[in-house]
Symmetry: D2
Subunit: 323 residues, 4 copies
């Protein structure tokens, strides 16, 4: 159906991490993208199957990240740590999607306080609410995506915002650390960075108001759920249903249905449930998504599609009713 000349060439930097692997997965399923360079400083020189024996089709071998940039792809996905992403110099003309946090915060003081670098000229891209502009796109954080999908349509109309979030362990990356050791994670639940997580200023920046944010580490591989509590006068359900009425990605559930991880895991969609507390009148908005899907790689490809004028959902995992 497509001829070679119609394909957009893509390079992925940092293929060996969770977000790199997941981005590669979507690029492989994308009808319009051709992966021409797979960057990984740790795997450079090895075949694609060195990452995973399932990668046994025709694929380029891994190169260093620098070599992957030099391949001159039309589209680059930065699946790097924040410091590496901050130091990255975008090639002229290419669309670049940065999955790290390096370019998300727009206020230089706030950005320096949380990430140690000024943000530069990148556009925050959360397609349903804040579509990306230009070629340099800062992909939102996983927690921020869930909180913003839940609360973004209510911005300016809410007070006393509490976001209590829970994420699977893949949100912390593949790096070896005590808090990702299975002996710590299994049969456990642990809050962390309580009231001091760097996704809080990201949420606040987009909402235009401070939020109280507490993340918890779940004993699951993937999936994220944010339970958001607000005081408001507006009709929360109406605003959310209007915001996502035509979205192929975000689904507002019927009254009484609760979101859950199992229905969003390994997909690029998100579910939102809307409730009112019977005792206090508090509005409760719950958003579930996959931290590696809509919370990372899925949204990165969605942002790339918008920047390139492709079908917004090409390459995304939006169907399936798997158990």
């Amino acid at each position: 159906m497509y001829t070679y000349s119609q394909m957009t060439t893509a390079a992925i930097l940092g293929c060996a991490g969770y977000t790199g692997q997941e981005t590669l997965d979507r690029v492989l399923a994308h009808p319009d993208l051709e992966p021409i360079a797979l960057g990984s400083d740790s795997l450079a020189g090895r075949p694609a199957a060195a990452l995973d024996p399932r990668l046994n089709r025709a694929l380029p071998a891994f190169t260093t990240n620098a070599e992957a940039v030099a391949a001159g792809a039309d589209l680059l996905f930065l699946c790097l740590g924040g410091d590496e992403a901050a130091a990255f110099e975008p090639p002229s003309g290419a669309v670049v999607v940065d999955l790290s946090g390096a370019h998300r915060l727009t206020d230089p003081d706030v950005a320096c306080a949380w990430y140690g670098n000024a943000p530069g000229a990148w556009s925050y891209g959360l397609p349903e609410l804040y579509p990306p502009a230009g070629n340099l796109i800062a992909n939102p954080g996983c927690y921020a995506t869930a909180a913003l999908l839940a609360l973004g349509p209510l911005a300016g109309e809410i007070e006393n915002v509490v976001v209590d979030a829970k994420s699977g362990v893949s949100g912390a990356g593949k790096a070896l650390k005590q808090s990702s050791h299975a002996g710590f994670v299994l049969e456990n639940l642990s809050p962390y960075a309580v009231g001091a997580h760097r996704h809080a200023p990201e949420i606040a920046q987009q909402l235009g108001a401070p939020v109280c944010f507490v993340p918890h580490l779940l004993p699951v591989r993937r999936g994220l759920l944010a339970t958001c509590y607000v005081q408001t006068e507006v009709d929360v359900r109406e605003l959310l249903e209007d915001a996502y009425a035509s979205s192929p990605v975000v689904r507002v559930l019927p009254d009484g249905t609760t979101p859950e991880l199992a229905r969003v895991q390994s997909t690029d969609g998100a579910e939102i449930g809307v409730f009112t507390d019977s005792a206090t009148g508090t509005a409760i908005v719950i958003c579930a998504l996959d931290n590696l899907g809509k919370g990372a790689a899925g949204q990165a490809v969605q942002n790339a599609n918008l920047a390139l004028g492709l079908d917004e959902t090409a390459g995304l995992r939006l169907h399936g009713v798997l158990v």
Copy 2:
């Protein structure tokens, strides 16, 4: 050390459920209690080992619950469903601890709305905050225990209370239902009874103020963690440390240390962490406990000890640093 005549005789009704089994476990470890009747309508006539092959010591066989009452024990533990507990007629003179919700709510209208029965003359017993009075003791709910341990010492000084709680599946009992099926629970997280759970009025009754309460089902066997958010002017850490300074059961953690399930599972203790949100000034109090320990059987035995004038912690599981 003890002679037979000094022992307090105990009967457990509803031995086959989680709370019955756990209560039995503590009674067996208790130096002053002698189990003389094990009631279970489903296991009546069978030996104790029919419940678990570990129960291979000398123990009475199971009887019906009615026969267990007729045994005339000094102390009865009601590990029954709410309806059965509501219909129970306490024998004169015995100490009775009801682990169901039937007698927790003191306002007749509220009690009828949530449990379908008026509360009667039972005393709510949460030893650290609301010590039991009299022979008939309503043992608190697991969620309520966690929320009250976190917030009880702050009562009257807090506003905009949000309690976001997470519990292992044993909190829902052994009954077979869709939401306790492992195919639903594993790798999942599901909020339920959002803004409409019957532990909310129980918490509100003891705090004297309404709370917004949302429970979530965790993919773990046991353990419960409540993350509580409040607006307040008081020094939260000081009030909590004062409240539990001499408690052998509740531990306020040092500044910066977060509670987690793994340290309270299979114990009768509780951990509390105190934090302040950097962006909004919200006070965050987190309490972790075992829903079957301090949240049920451990607290029931603790209440019984107080009512009987025994050592408050006899039979409890308060030591151990197991992984």
Copy 3:
């Protein structure tokens, strides 16, 4: 691309169970199949979204299973219990794939002993080794599929066969039972039907030799791994690599690489690892697959594709390197 007249019409009986839901998932992804009837006696009359809110596209509402048969589809999937499947009368001319065990055993005495019914004229269909013949296809059991993929190519050359298998809880279906309760499954591992499981005669029938088979219930949602031990004189790796050299579904891993659940979950592929025990010379063949994929719905669609002359892998989930 396809016009209506080119589509094969399909009906699924028993849509509400795990295998029904997974079969539906693959039918929805299949370019040549059109689902015209969704049978479920428990959901009859309700819309497709009643099963799962993700089913929000245009789909027929559920009907009774009898009505689904009456729709006259070219292809029927029986996702029913064994008794219902045994009593099913296939409509003339249709391709029928039975995912239950009712028609797998060909020896009448053995079939009656394990399933209570004679097998009838059904063909056992495990495409890589025993391609289906005719319109009535008995889809293999999940454990049998794994054991046979590991050992089938060695049939006649092996002795002292031990199959130690481990499966996630979805293998036991959605029915509510004690052994599927999350309080039993989580943090547990339990052998069951030790030396007496009905998949043992199924494996033996195809191998032509008895096997010692023990299944274990894993605390995971999906996935199955069979560790097979045999005494043999043949070159096991060579025989297995030859058998699956051109298979798009079964992957023999390189020397030293072990199969694992994580790489086959939610897919229709299978992985095989080949090892020799250093102390005893025993050959060890390990096969991993998804009990609901290659072990059930994926294989059912693969069998249907062969019977209908369609692309063998149409509708299957064979790609993806998801975490």
Copy 4:
């Protein structure tokens, strides 16, 4: 009941690992042992609560392992890596229990091949079958303990031995490695060291016959189950029931009852189930224990009790019917 002068002084080397922590837990519960030195090179100088906030009672601060030896305790537990344990020079007169593998293998060639050191004059101590002799005790491996409890009483009467074992992640220790990362372990099952694990020669040494041994990593925190397959002419159940008839630690289950992790987790007991395969006559013996309990720290204390002439089960966790 005890006066200070009657206490046996104990030192633990390597307190910060899983086996060190669990050994400390049992020493704290032991009526006759007094912990006078807690060795940990990583925690030296810090208070006991630095390891775990539950350790808030009066305890010595951590010292280096060398300092802990110099404290001159009557009893030393070596909870060290194999190389450190191999290099350890036992102080004269002290009872030393080595929980590493350094001193388990008695054949110098075999020991050097698997551990890189000759075994020296240590006694293998598995109390029920091979009671320790002398002051220097090599504590068995977790897998070996399970396989030997299942098969030891049958030694000399069995052929074609297959041991298919499954263990929780704490068996691999607290060290950070890819295969202990929760993103790898959760919802996964992975065989490893297939046919080449160093517990195989340990089992073979005690049985006097080679075994085919394959371990698998389970997605659970603790617990180990070994499914053992043998050809034999003897009455397996009778031999096992005789062997453990008076054991307070090992429980042979009634006919038809299967062992499971949940009943041995966090205990120092073991469960054994005995079965015969209906198709092949193979005897199947299944042993479940806690890899950190009977498989490590519990057995170490049991060995120490025997060497010191104390009550064999003092300090052990053998009661309780916790869920």
